[in-house]
Symmetry: C2
């Protein structure tokens, strides 16, 4: 019998794992199950599709199941939900949602890539027709269709994280008056104070009404035959009208199947895996948003539901399930987001995380330019360094500004991942030309300022 | 008596060294001599000033001598040419060009930052009024003034290197019909073949007439009272009319003063210095374009006349001359240039240099996108890797394309400087968002393709 590898989940890690497994072992049968309608689509692009910047929905799909079969040799079954993994019998129990039929499949190796699920607000009315999360292709299509059909004039977004930012920009682009309700004083929990202030300023400059420190109490509904919508969001800070309600409260690992199979979870609540993406259960691998990831800055497990990590870890799971010996060492957390005209990048630990991890933390902030300041198009770039005073290592950084932020964050990502000190960063030989950067790039200036800061006795740098 | 530190040269390394020396030892007297009219100006910005993108010439000057005194505490004497350094007597002999007077100054430490000088073409007529090099503030001003006064319609640029590219763009922007004469088949010697082809295509697409494999035989002059200009450039490939002739044939180290003082030069012909920027002569430091630099990829001395290196080495020379113990480890060569709509980045060794350095060279080329391909504004980015098959290290890279090239080159600059393998590069955790990069950045794709290439037996990868 041919080796059969079963992959559970079709968004990022799953197709990545399945493709790699088939490539490594072309004689294996690789079967992928996905409960939704599509596999392998660009979920990160969804806000830009909703905003109308990407016109054709077909382009969001990297592979249809047919293309995936043809180009990657993987059989992908959509509308198939894996309900159970039985490691003792090497079986999965799968429900064909179209036929409402249950079938069992044997496997030699299984890869769990069940991803994450959006946090719910747990209030009556959350299931109304104008209330959306953005976690899947279907979610994106429903939002876009609702906007096209209903022409909402007022939107409320609950949650001021990455998706909240992108949706605020998308809705504002569509001339929908947007209110953002956020639990903390400032949006983007996890970023440094100055970054968060800059984000809130950017939101307000573009007409987004940001409400800080708010908790939603209830949702007022209007029900007519065939239509039930939330019309007002009632909070501790007043009531907000809405024709459209987006819930972007973050995600949590989707570990129902793993838990049912008795597969060990880690401290973060996500599936625990080793460097080869093996779970603690024989012949079962896992990758993507359902898993933990090792943080390469503090060597602790973290939960990091990102497509970049999922696709890399998926490759490794797929290669190993097919008999290879690949390793995924971990990640530092590298995130970028565009908030209207502001680019934001976050790499490595926040100052708070660094403190909790036991480092002797110092932070420095430097305001520089994206190009030589007198060149047309030059924009301000602010760099915040989070440093360990003892080892002089860069542990993390925030960058925000008008240009070249994400790629500069990636220069620092390499430095952070490879444990460079500020002294080494200050000696980096970086390419320079007036249209691209100043002679001393802001990240070099920040390194020099940090070196001076480290000479000051104790205390936080001024 | 106060310690006196004398700095010879006022462009990049000199002011950097002088500022740092004064900061490290505020009680020292720091004296800087510059033969030209200005110190501390943006020579790299000059093509953009000539093109009219930077309007005010004042903005090109970082510090006037007065400001340098006030803000940095350094006495800068312009129109002062150092004619001799006498290490045995710790003296410099300086000509005041305004007064045509010679004065001797004692020093405790001297820093030579005499920079580079443009290569000449050594033909009769080279000193005509419409023939220019671009190496100093005065050169830039003269070009701009000539263009404003004479409204040239046809320009010839001899030399297809970095300055040639920037001047071709500048002159074309000013609607001056531009011909570029270059000694090789393709411009930009030192870059990989595909990069050079892309550059020549870019030039031609923007109306620059590129003439390959050409050598200039003579210059035809027209002389009238008070005016002597070159009107035609005669070559082995025909004759080219010109109202304006730019010579951009590269530079060589300006070591006249050093040689006169018996200071040791290295194999490259530039001043030999150690990690502390000390020359082989007691109490004499050197930094900038007059010095060699250690190449951190192959550990050999190289000549690298770049402002980025000069300012870093200048700092180190200044700090050490003032009694500190700073180190400049070297550079990898990191260069970026804009050629109309094409961005070009070059970091580390070329394939040819790598061969000569004894590496077992493999190259890979990958064409990717600057953003998620379906996002508006996404451009093609080509990445060429130069690898060592044995150590699997990335030795060098070329990048070219429409967006985000220079900063991506800098991500690789860190990897090259810190001797990362392609395996490590493929595991880099990089920030991603659809407006900034694809899920798999071209540099990650290139790493993965390279890893597959390394599995193929011997030979150049296909």
């Amino acid at each position: 019998m041919r080796r059969r590898i079963i992959v559970i989940g079709g968004l990022a890690a799953g197709p990545s794992a399945a493709s790699k497994a088939k490539r490594v072992n072309p004689s294996a049968e690789v079967l992928l199950f996905e409960q939704g309608e599509q596999i392998s689509y660009g979920i990160c692009e969804m806000p830009y599709y909703i905003a109308g910047l990407i016109k054709e929905r077909r382009k969001l799909i990297v592979f249809t199941p047919e293309e995936f079969k043809e180009k990657r040799g993987v059989i992908a079954k959509v509308h198939h939900r894996v309900e159970q993994v039985i490691p003792g019998k090497r079986k999965v129990v799968v429900r064909d949602l179209a036929k409402d039929d249950v079938v069992e499949y044997d496997y030699e190796k299984a890869i769990i890539a069940t991803g994450s699920k959006p946090r719910r607000i747990n209030l009556h009315g959350e299931d109304s027709q104008n209330v959306f999360v953005l976690k899947s292709y279907d979610d994106g299509m429903r939002i876009r269709e609702w906007i096209e059909k209903e022409s909402p004039r007022k939107a409320v977004i609950v949650g001021g994280g990455y998706i909240g930012m992108e949706m605020a920009e998308a809705l504002t682009t569509l001339d929908i008056e947007t209110t953002m309700l956020h639990r903390s004083e400032l949006p983007m929990v996890g970023l440094e104070l100055e970054t968060r202030k800059s984000v809130v300023e950017q939101l307000r400059n573009h007409g987004v009404y940001f409400v800080p420190a708010v908790s939603v109490k209830s949702l007022a509904r209007e029900s007519r035959p065939g239509k039930s919508t939330v019309t007002r969001v009632i909070t501790n800070k007043g009531t907000y009208d809405c024709d459209l309600l987006i819930l972007s409260l973050g995600v949590e690992p989707n570990v129902d199947v793993a838990r049912g199979a008795g597969i060990a979870l880690g401290v973060t609540g996500a599936i625990r895996v080793d460097e080869m993406q093996r779970t603690r259960t024989d012949n079962v691998y896992a990758a993507g948003d359902c898993c933990e990831v090792k943080n390469l800055v503090n060597d602790k497990p973290m939960y990091l539901p990102l497509a970049t990590v999922a696709s890399k870890a998926g490759w490794v799971a797929g290669e190993n399930a097919a008999g290879g010996r690949a390793v995924f060492k971990g990640a530092i957390r590298a995130i970028a987001v565009k908030v209207f005209e502001l680019e934001v990048g976050h790499v490595g630990l926040s100052a708070e995380e660094a403190e909790v991890s036991g480092f002797d933390v110092m932070t420095e902030i430097v305001v520089g330019d994206s190009r030589v300041s007198i060149m047309p198009g030059s924009r301000t770039v602010t760099v915040i360094y989070v440093l360990d005073r003892k080892s002089r290592r860069l542990l993390g950084a925030n960058l925000f500004g008008g240009e070249g932020v994400a790629l500069r964050a990636n220069i620092l990502a390499v430095a952070i991942q490879h444990h460079l000190t500020v002294d080494q960063i200050s000696q980096l030989d970086l390419a320079y030309a007036p249209p691209f950067s100043p002679l001393w790039d802001p990240i070099l200036v920040a390194a020099n300022v940090s070196r001076r800061g480290l000479m000051r006795p104790g205390g936080k740098s001024e």
